[in-house]
Symmetry: C2
Subunit: 122 residues, 2 copies
DNA sequence: TAACAAATAGGAATCATTCCTGTTTATAAT
DNA sequence: ATTATAAACAGGAATGATTCCTATTTGTTA
């Protein structure tokens, strides 16, 4: 089995990497359509899932919508519940994974801290 | 405006409080139907949202499904990605809210830490 | 250049959740 | 108690993000 690099996947990755705005799949789809008119929703979803599985991008659960993050360095999120904006922040120490792993009998894959509240714009 | 206490809401709250299994709305709906045969899905969802808004129960985002937690004391969650189980754990200090609030210009409402991985059953 | 698995487009299907409407019910005022 | 009324309900339709399906296209290898 070999790995294929389609133009679609490359474009989707570029779009996610090119913004700090933590976009939704739909936002990414619309942005992609401006460049590749005939790209389909299914392709966007499939590639986002695949890129996330490969660890090339991150996923944030924002209510019932998934958002995507090109920043794969460990960091935390501020989520404004009024405007649904997501901001990056660093609260947790970078080695927390290992500390937690020592404390509990659980195969730790990812630690995510989200702070919900209301941002300065309100 | 006054506050109404329907039998349905009381039952739903009791069900959520009576388990540590972090059930989904659908699980709660089915459990409720065994006691109150004609209760509707809409009622379950409406009341879960309302109870969560009042701070009487907590909400956990598990993928694209919401789960509910009768434990409103501050705590963190272990989420097993193989069996979708949620376990309670205490990692963060209880006064983290206040510490974070001092650090950032953001009206902090809730801090949630979720550790994803694979539990002992696998 | 041929063979073939991977990826795609387009659209249908899924499924949790919300919304809508006519009816019932808990509370407050009389 | 009775009545008035807004809150809550049941039942079912609508929504919307995401996944799934199928015939077609496209990268990669031989």
């Amino acid at each position: 089995m070999y790995k294929r690099y389609s133009k679609q996947r490359t474009l989707i990755l570029e779009i996610v990497k090119s913004t700090h705005s933590h976009p939704s799949a739909d936002w990414i789809y619309n942005k992609a359509r401006k460049i590749m008119t005939k790209i389909s929703r299914g392709t966007v979803y499939r590639n986002l899932n695949q890129l996330a599985e490969n660890g090339e991008i991150n996923v944030i659960k924002d209510g019932d919508v998934m958002k995507y993050d090109g920043n794969i360095l460990r960091h935390d999120h501020l989520l404004c519940t009024k405007c649904d904006s997501v901001y990056d922040i660093n609260i947790l120490p970078k080695d927390l994974d290992k500390k937690v792993q020592r404390l509990i009998n659980f195969d730790v894959k990812q630690i995510s801290l989200t702070i919900e509240g209301i941002c300065q714009n309100h």
